[in-house]
């Protein structure tokens, strides 16, 4: 049972050597010298690779904490880029947040954006290159706090790009302050006694909110805390990429991401916390789906 969703990458070697440095100017080569074998080292010839890291994910160790969802979602996006073969035509926008170095890991053209402004930056890019695949990748502080204006207006204009919204309910990078999505009662460094909704309001459900804007075309909320969840999340990202071709509006993929460090949990506890707490406030699933005729368009397009 070979999963359709997982590309068999044939071109790149698997090695144990750790390319520690992620120097920005260093070109990650895909040249043939480097392509070794797809066979495992310690094993004979009848084995076939059924899963390996996407080749567009730069082969360096990522700076994220153990069990951080960012690295996983980076991987998923690159898997989709590889599967669709759109490395050349994809431009990403990296946020300020823990994923500020996303451009060190994704082997595509990328732009860093000021905190909260990724969708404005992406608007500038996509409007001038409507044929490129453009996406932003943003945290909940970035997208829902300081950047909510740009988020809402980009979506209201129906900008034809994908927004990957990594909702981990805290400000990861700055060490765990309250985010607009922090759960009621959840403790953070700036809500030391737990988020008091009488004072700070309820956590914002961004996906639901922006699904009311006519400019949003596809809105879904996923998690990445189990294999099943990961499969669905990848499918969502894949859909969102494909829908860009239709030019029908913004595709919004919210991902409930684990932040073990700032939740003060082990990665495993964090994964459980997603199921037990996060999805109570942020239920998973599709929130807005393209209408039938729009999908037909896509099929015709193919």
């Amino acid at each position: 049972m070979r999963s359709e969703e997982h590309l068999l990458v044939e071109e790149q070697s698997i090695s144990l050597k750790d390319s520690e440095t992620s120097s920005k100017s260093e070109y990650i080569k895909n040249t043939s010298e480097e392509i070794a074998t797809d066979k495992p080292r310690c094993l004979d010839d009848d084995y076939e690779v059924v899963y390996k890291r996407p080749k567009t994910l730069v082969d360096v160790s990522m700076h994220y904490c153990p069990g951080c969802a960012h690295s996983l979602v980076h991987k998923l996006i690159m898997e989709v880029v590889d599967e669709m073969g759109i490395q050349e035509t994809t431009v990403g926008v990296a946020p300020v947040g823990c994923s500020v170095f996303a451009y060190d890991y994704m082997n595509i053209d990328m732009t860093e954006a000021a905190h909260g402004r990724a969708t404005a930056v992406a608007t500038g890019i996509k409007r001038l290159m409507p044929d490129k695949y453009v996406f932003t990748y943003q945290g909940d502080g970035d997208l829902a706090a300081i950047g909510i204006a740009e988020t809402i207006h980009a979506i209201n204009r129906g900008e034809n790009f994908m927004i990957v919204f990594m909702n981990n309910a805290v400000y990861g990078m700055t060490s765990g302050q309250m985010a607009p999505t922090t759960l009621a009662g959840m403790k953070t460094t700036t809500s030391p006694l737990g988020r008091d909704t009488a004072f700070y309001g309820e956590p914002i459900r961004v996906s639901e909110l922006i699904s009311h804007l006519p400019g949003s075309f596809y809105v879904t909320r996923q998690a990445v805390n189990s294999a099943t969840a990961v499969r669905k999340a990848k499918k969502a990202i894949s859909n969102a990429f494909k829908y860009q071709k239709l030019r029908k509006g913004t595709c919004f993929v919210e991902i409930i991401g684990n932040c073990p460090s700032n939740w003060k949990m082990t990665p495993i506890e964090a994964a459980k916390f997603v199921d037990e707490s996060m999805i109570k406030t942020f239920p998973l699933g599709d929130i807005k789906l393209p209408k039938g005729e729009d999908l037909k368009l896509l099929q015709e397009d193919k």
């Binding site: 700076h63 994220y64 904490c65 153990p66 823990c98 460090s261």
Partner: protein
């Protein structure tokens, strides 16, 4: 008296609180102190370090390039800081974690198997206090009682039951380095 110390290791090994405890102890002894964490380029799950300065006079810069002493807990930190110890300075490192210590000969070097000892003492958290104890034995810039007083401030009330084991750890460190000092004395 002026002592400029760097402490460095993996996040989670307690280097920051080690430096901070020392600084508090200095304050208790009415010294001028400054403690400066690296809040910077270290990555998630990477290394952490802090500079602690104790002095009888006003301290000028809290950030310095060269150190009188260094307490080093992992290999990357060793690689980064070994060259920044002043000639004649003191380097104390955790020798179960670090397999390539410095090759410098113009400084005093002590390897302490603190991680192993912490396991023996059944509390991995006291690794840093073992190291601090070792350091203070070689460089008694503050008294151990001051450290204990400082720990009372640094540790939240609910952890005060851990004060005795911390004291033991400090003593263990002192003991371990004494052995080292003896052997070094022979080597010199």
């Amino acid at each position: 008296m002026l002592e400029e110390l760097i402490a460095a290791g993996f996040g989670g090994q307690g280097v920051l609180s080690m430096g901070m405890t020392l600084a508090y102890a200095g304050m208790i002894e009415n010294k001028e102190i400054s403690w400066m964490p690296s809040y910077g380029p270290e990555m998630r799950g990477g290394t952490a370090n802090c500079i602690t300065i104790l002095s009888d006079n006003k301290i000028s810069s809290p950030i310095i390039t060269f150190f009188d002493s260094a307490i080093i807990l992992n290999q990357p930190s060793m690689d980064k800081f070994e060259s920044r110890i002043k000639p004649g300075g003191v380097l104390i490192y955790e020798s179960t974690n670090i397999i390539e210590p410095t090759k410098r000969t113009d400084i005093e070097v002590f390897g302490i198997r603190a991680a192993e000892e912490a396991v023996n003492m059944k509390n991995s958290k006291i690794l840093n206090m073992i190291m601090l104890g070792a350091y203070l034995e070689r460089k008694p810039v503050v008294k151990i009682v001051s450290i204990i007083e400082a720990l009372k401030k640094v540790l939240p009330e609910r952890y005060h039951n851990l004060l005795p084991i911390n004291k033991l750890a400090l003593e263990k460190g002192a003991e371990l380095i004494e052995k080292e000092m003896v052997s070094m004395g022979e080597a010199f």
